[in-house]
């Protein structure tokens, strides 16, 4: 029982990281832009958030938690939106190939984060921002003391709940508002949207940048909460970024599915550690890598199933990955 609880307590924060990444990518892809730079953007967001919190903590005599949160969030958003802006400029304005640009952005984001990380690390193997960590991972007072249920439901930092709220808001935005309808039209059929008087370029830019900002928060959450506010040479962000991209497919581009999908991915990812102990046997270490693959396998199964069912609603936006030229109509 206790290991089951530990499993959930591990899976939900893990899921939250990729939920942010996936929600950002859903917004981006709804505009028809396939941004494979999610891992890079999560790096940028995570690093900017950590660096700002770290510098603030260490250079202020009496740092406040609230300022720490606001500062790191703002820096994270600026950095990741800039990443989205690079992608937008290259693919929308210059009509560069989206796949290539996205992959380059991933490499770029990793490089930038690791390069500037050297100055933060300053020769050490890791550096920590304990105040920011305590601010981000602060549990809800009162509710989290209600025993096991309190732990499972209320035992996380505020970004976990914010993610759920954002997912619900995104669902309402995409399905119930005029701007959401227009955005979906841009991703499905930009020529039609253009003829209806919708500014396709503006929608693509804004959706890609907002999406990048959201994805970046995933990186921030990883460093300052999940990873206990420690910046080390964090190669795991990349793996998480790709998992977020896989999650987008898994959700069939629906934000509400991202909530349970992300937690499911978290459960599956930690399967290797908790399931054997739950069932009372041990597995060899080489098997764990194999088991960590399960979320990807599940994604492939979802792809196969949705392809077989051929339901149009479960397909990616029809114009995903393609640049739009008005003259081509």
């Amino acid at each position: 029982m206790s290991s089951l609880i530990a499993w959930i307590l591990r899976a939900i924060p893990f899921g939250t990281i990729i939920m942010y990444g996936a929600m950002g990518e859903i917004v981006t892809e709804k505009s028809g832009n396939l941004n494979l730079g999610v891992p890079g953007i999560m790096y940028l967001g995570g690093f900017a958030g950590f660096a700002s919190a770290f510098l603030y903590e260490n250079n202020t005599s009496n740092p406040s938690k609230l300022v720490c949160i606001l500062l790191s969030l703002v820096c994270c958003l600026i950095a990741s939106v800039l990443g989205g802006l690079i992608f937008s400029f290259l693919t929308i304005t210059l009509r560069a190939n989206q796949n290539v640009t996205g992959l380059a952005l991933t490499t770029f984001g990793m490089g930038v984060a690791n390069f500037f990380g050297v100055f933060i690390l300053n020769g050490k193997s890791y550096s920590a921002a304990p105040l920011a960590n305590s601010a981000y991972s602060a549990k809800m007072p009162g509710l989290s003391d209600l025993g096991v249920a309190g732990d499972i439901l209320f035992g996380y930092g505020f970004l976990v709940y914010l993610a759920i709220v954002i997912a619900v808001l995104l669902h309402i935005f995409l399905n119930k508002t005029r701007v959401g309808l227009n955005l979906r039209a841009v991703g499905e059929n930009p020529a039609t949207a253009d003829a209806a008087g919708i500014n396709v370029t503006r929608y693509k830019y804004i959706a890609t940048c907002v999406g990048a900002g959201l994805s970046g928060v995933g990186g921030l959450y990883y460093v300052l909460d999940y990873n206990s506010g420690i910046w080390a040479t964090t190669g795991q962000i990349e793996a998480l970024g790709w998992l977020a991209v896989a999650l987008v497919i898994f959700t069939t581009w629906r934000p509400l599915n991202a909530i349970w999908g992300a937690y499911l991915f978290g459960v599956l990812y930690w399967l290797y550690q908790f399931l054997p102990s739950l069932l009372g046997f041990t597995v060899a270490s080489y098997v764990t890598d194999l088991i960590q693959m399960v979320p990807y396998v599940v994604t492939i199964i979802v792809l196969i199933v949705t392809s077989l069912r051929k339901k149009k609603e479960n397909q990616p936006p029809a114009h995903l990955g393609l640049a739009y030229f008005r003259e081509e109509r």
């Binding site: 039609t192 949207a193 209806a196 008087g197």
Partner: protein
């Protein structure tokens, strides 16, 4: 009569091509006007300028007597003009309601229920049938068209322009559409229909305006119009072209088509029960307004098109044409080629289906020979020699045989393609719109090439759009209309009016096959 729209001296050019030249046209309030013309006569271009898709180079547009500038579809909507294009502008995964709501004035409250209610009122008024919750991808072509019309009416259009609305409809659906159009006229709206089908013009419109080669020919009241008058206005007088036409030398049957029918993936019957023969040493012209089955016919003969069972395409491959025939239906192009059938196809889409634009001449020659020979590496030499030879003989203007062909001019691209196909020494040579977009000299060079092949005993099939060329070049002309063979005439004796009429009006005999 009061003018809803009045066009004065409109000219529009695309590069060096003049699409509309000094066209003046009036559209009255509460009338149905047909705009009639052949392919490329500038009908769609002219009306796109009213709909805000294009902007005229010169000339003026008056709406309700006032001069206006229409720079975008949105401007057109605000003036009460709505156009229903041939390619629908709908989002597949959206419901009908969502499609109507798309791009509506942002100042209004976003309320799909309200949109739906208002749209339902429009439906009741004009007697449309529409399920507003249905997704567009689940709709038939005619439902999509209805949705487009509702969309336009919802935005308050008083002037509706329909671009070839019946091209994709069944006769029953067409009748339903016409009823709706009459209801709209009764409501005081002006409707313009772009079409090339004479019987529809006569059935629905109040007046007919005719364009030919981008120029305005005239307008007649439908009640005074006859099919022969309209045809003559549409195709114009015969132009002498002086294209060489040698007498066919002992023609032998090369190709036999029987009961060929094709249904498109959308369920429309694009070819119905086609029967004809093609003979070596003859040029068989195929005339018809584009989209009447030409593409499918050629692709079926080339083995690229799935046909309905019962159809047959037979080749008589032996030298004298007497040997056993070979059936190609059900075989793919590679099998057909390996079976020894020498057939060449110059498709309409030169850089899509015919050549690879980013490769040079040599590379494109290699596309036909890459799988010959058993060596580990490709044989580069013979394609290179062939490319050199074609460049020399056909006077292809290119910086070098390795320059990507997409950088060549249209005429040179066509020469490369035709040259490659001819080099194969075909028994049957099919060309689709071989001179489209080519200048006069290159066109004549292509005619010469086709005549050379004819003299060699090749059965040449020439799909064309210019009736003067067809009448000057071909020995026989087969006319397609609505996917049927609407008549086969002798190229030497047929008149332009005769062919024009066959192109636009289905003969009684053709109808019997239904």
């Amino acid at each position: 009569m009061e003018c809803a729209i009045s066009l004065k001296h409109i000219t529009k050019t695309f590069g060096s091509v003049v699409a509309n030249k000094d066209v003046s046209l009036d559209i009255y309030k509460g009338e149905i006007l047909s705009l009639l013309g052949e392919n490329g006569s500038g009908k769609t271009t002219l009306l796109n300028m009213i709909a805000g898709i294009y902007y005229p180079d010169s000339g003026e547009v008056f709406v309700n007597g006032k001069p206006v500038e229409i720079r975008s579809p949105r401007d057109a909507y605000q003036l009460g003009i709505g156009m229903i294009h041939q390619h629908f502008k709908l989002v597949d995964v959206f419901s009908a309601t969502e499609n109507i709501a798309l791009g509506l004035d942002a100042k209004e409250k976003f309320d799909l229920k309200q949109v739906r209610k208002k749209a339902q009122e429009i439906c009741d008024k004009y007697q449309f049938d529409m399920d507003f919750d249905q997704k567009v991808y689940a709709m038939s072509v005619s439902q999509k068209q209805t949705l487009e019309i509702i969309k336009v009416l919802y935005r308050g259009a008083d002037i509706l322009i329909l671009d070839e609305p019946t091209a994709v409809l069944t006769p029953q659906e067409t009748e339903k559409l016409f009823q709706v159009i009459r209801n709209m006229r009764a409501d005081g709206k002006s409707v313009v229909i772009i079409t090339h089908k004479l019987h529809e013009v006569l059935a629905i419109s109040d007046r007919v305006s005719i364009l030919r080669k981008g120029e305005y020919v005239g307008t007649v009241e439908t009640k005074d119009a006859t099919e022969s008058l309209l045809t003559e206005m549409m195709v114009g007088k015969k132009v002498e072209l002086n294209i060489d036409r040698p007498i066919p030398q002992n023609p032998v049957k090369r190709l036999e088509i029987r009961n060929l029918s094709v249904t498109s993936p959308e369920g429309v019957r694009v070819l119905s029960d086609i029967n004809f023969d093609a003979f070596g040493g003859e040029i068989l012209g195929i005339a018809g307004v584009s989209g009447n089955g030409q593409k499918e016919l050629l692709e079926a003969i080339a083995g690229l098109q799935t046909v309905e069972s019962g159809g047959s395409v037979k080749y008589y491959n032996s030298e004298d044409g007497q040997g056993p025939a070979m059936e190609v239906i059900g075989k793919n192009p590679r099998v057909i080629r390996n079976a020894g059938i020498h057939m060449s196809f110059v498709p309409e889409d030169r850089l899509g289906m015919g050549l690879v634009g980013s490769m040079g001449m040599t590379g494109n020659m290699m596309l036909k020979s890459y799988d010959s020979g058993k060596a580990l590496f490709l044989d580069q030499k013979s394609p290179k020699n062939l490319a050199e030879r074609i460049k020399e003989e056909l006077e292809v203007v290119t910086p070098g045989i390795n320059t990507p062909v997409s950088r060549l001019s249209g005429g040179n691209v066509q020469k490369v393609l035709v040259g490659r196909e001819i080099a194969d020494a075909p028994m049957v040579l099919m060309t689709a719109y071989a001179v489209r977009g080519l200048d006069i000299n290159t066109s004549y060079a292509i005619y010469d090439l086709l005549n050379q092949q004819k003299k060699k005993g090749v059965a040449v099939i020439y799909v064309g759009e210019d009736l003067d060329v067809l009448l000057a070049l071909c020995d026989k002309i087969m006319v397609l209309c609505a996917g049927r063979v609407n008549g086969i005439v002798d190229g030497r004796t047929a008149t332009k009016e005769q062919v024009g009429l066959l192109m636009t009006k289905l003969q009684e005999g053709g109808n019997k096959n239904e």
